[in-house]
Amino acid sequence: MAAVSPLLETRNLSRSFGGLKAVSDVNFTLEVGEIRAVIGPNGAGKTTFVSLVSGRLAPSSGAVLFEGDDITRLPAFKRVRLGIAYTFQITSIYGNLTVAENVALAAHQPGAKSSLEYLERVGLAGRAAQIAGTLAYGHQRLLEVAMGLALRPKLLILDEPTQGLSDSEITNFIELVRTLSKTATVLLIEHNMPVVMELAHRITVLDRGQILAEGAPEDIRANRAVQNAYLGTADA
């Protein structure tokens, strides 16, 4: 394994918005099969960081490598084809299309009915014919994940997936991500600390655009700098 390059690597990755450095010199590595959580206070640059990885934003400087290849200049849709799937923080589904068509589009078989498998995995198979916009919010989040799955990604980026979910939905969700991680590496941006602590193999803490700390969940929990950055909000 040692000779194999990491799944994802960023080198001095930076992005600024009109003088404000949202992400600054981030060197980040992610190994195959990991569940990695990225946490940090609001405005720490988490979403900007994954947008740079997924190609929704272009970096000001630095490089992104996927399976050892430089993908910095690759547009987002090509990165998706390489195996980087991104699920949106704000639910972004096709509200006027059926649930099945949503997933079929993600599986690149629009119009086909082969999408049931992915819907089963998130527990939405019974709602395939429903118009996606009429789903309950929690179900829309699950559909979003099913679409991510249908892309058969190597790397699945989940941007605050549990936001707005109920406790029972969250419990199911944790199970779901565990099963997912058998086939894909997961990069999870999450606010909900119990979820992070339960799922993540390793945690990366971002603060003001920089990596503040990185390590196993228990190390991060004990890390003073992290506690300070959160000012006690992450005591969970």
Partner: protein, 311 residues
Amino acid sequence: MFLHLAVIAALFLAQFAASEYIVLMLTRIMVLAIFAIGYNLLFGYTGLLSLGHAMFFATGLYAAALGTTLMGLTVPAAFAFAVLAGLAVSLVMGVITLRASGVAFMIVTLMFSQAAFLTVLYFGEYTRGDEGIVIPDTIRKFAFLGFDVDLANAVLRYNLALAFLGCAIAFSLLIVRSRIGHILIAIRENETRTSMLGYDVQRYKLAAFVMSGTLSAFSGACYALMFAYAGSTLASIQYSIHPLLWTLLGGASTVLGPVLGTGLMFVLVDLASSYTNANLLMIGVVLILLVLFFPKGILGTIRERYWKWLP
């Protein structure tokens, strides 16, 4: 499918019952409905609102008119030339204008179309501007695959227009039901999402743009050759608004909507013209009422309430 065949069949039968005047009007409607069908591919299915389709219509119109009168092309060759010209112009325009989106796209297409209109006027020596080119009847008589064709013949012209319209409807159906059709709708519904599913959104938009522009050019060529006339009014902003209006009225993103809308609008203007010649007023009022009360148009509303299967 059945419905579409029924519409074609009804139009075929109509020629035996209708007066000469109505046959001429229906011919015109069918030719312009092709324009609207082309427009709908871009506006209805892809969600891109162009305010410049007059430039594609005019491309076909003038390619056919100038091709036959100045370059000595036969009518079939002029059709081919017009389609190629439409393809080329829409490809170039698509590459440029699709860099903009939303309101900027609308304004950019409007301005390019205006530039095209001014170009037609600028080359007034050839295009004869407002007055227009009249294609002599001698050119419109030709032999094709062993048949003698005379485009001045009203019956023949009617059936030719019907055949072309049938092809346009079939083409539109084919696209809408195909993989690319589904992807175009996905782009309309949520462009960012579609791109983040790994689709090359720009390429699909360009494909829709070119199909739409080329079909519009084809309609323009039909217009010039069948009615023997090409004038600058047909290149003006009004002719960019017409297909939008027809599509909106009949129902955007339905295959038959543009056809219905074109027909209905013609009938409305025709009826109104016995009272007043204020057809601009008519267009304006219908546009406003549609936007306010029927944004989905006739067939769109029918689909929503009754026939969910309508393509």
